[in-house]
Amino acid sequence: DVKVTQSSRYLVKRTGEKVFLECVQDMDHENMFWYRQDPGLGLRLIYFSYDVKMKEKGDIPEGYSVSREKKERFSLILESASTNQTSMYLCASSSPLGGGSPLHFGNGTRLTVT
């Protein structure tokens, strides 16, 4: 089974802090994704990466950046955390073998910015 591991289940940070959310997958997947989940809004794509050092903006990239130095690891960075970034963050990975490859998700990181 694919395993996608997010380093923290809960995180509390202060406004203005630089925050790193880490995600590691063990299935040699090329594609990795960061989503944000908010009540009533569903999951919204922040950034994704289809290869090492490659990244693409999703629907809500403002205030975020990402890093993919190794194939198995995809980091989401909040350069200066703000209270409106309090949310659940979900990482996912998928195989690039054709279209329709399901995404495999981590357990999520619930981030609170105070």
């Binding site: 569903g42 289809y50 979900l90 279209g99 995404l103």
Partner: protein, 115 residues
């Protein structure tokens, strides 16, 4: 741009009953994939079912089946013989037929199954 709409924010059903969750989508693509994911209180997103748009046959997985109406751009999920463990948030999602693309999600339906 593609959009996915789930019009039922919350639903409830009794154990052993059947429930249908609605999903509509908008796209100009001809080939694509549709998914239903389940998110129980544990927060783990679990793939429930996957449908390929070029296949007319509706996908089924045990007690879960879909009613895929391509012309109407509708993709509903039917859960038969509902169980307490089916209590979760359910997300409908769309994916273009292109390697490495992301899922576009609806806003979700919270399903409560009671005894």
């Amino acid at each position: 741009a593609q959009t996915v709409t789930q019009s039922q924010p919350e639903m409830s059903v009794q154990e052993a009953e059947t429930v249908t969750l609605s999903c509509t989508y908008d796209t100009s693509e001809n080939n694509y994939y549709l998914f239903w994911y389940k998110q129980p209180p544990s927060r783990q997103m679990i793939l429930v079912i996957r449908q390929e748009a070029y296949k007319q046959q509706n996908a089924t997985e045990n007690r879960f089946s879909v009613n895929f109406q391509k012309a109407a751009k509708s993709f509903s999920l039917k859960i038969s013989d509902s169980q307490l463990g089916d209590t979760a948030m359910y997300f409908c999602a769309f994916m273009k037929d292109q390697a490495g693309t992301a899922l576009i999600f609806g806003k979700g339906t919270t399903l409560s199954v009671s005894s």
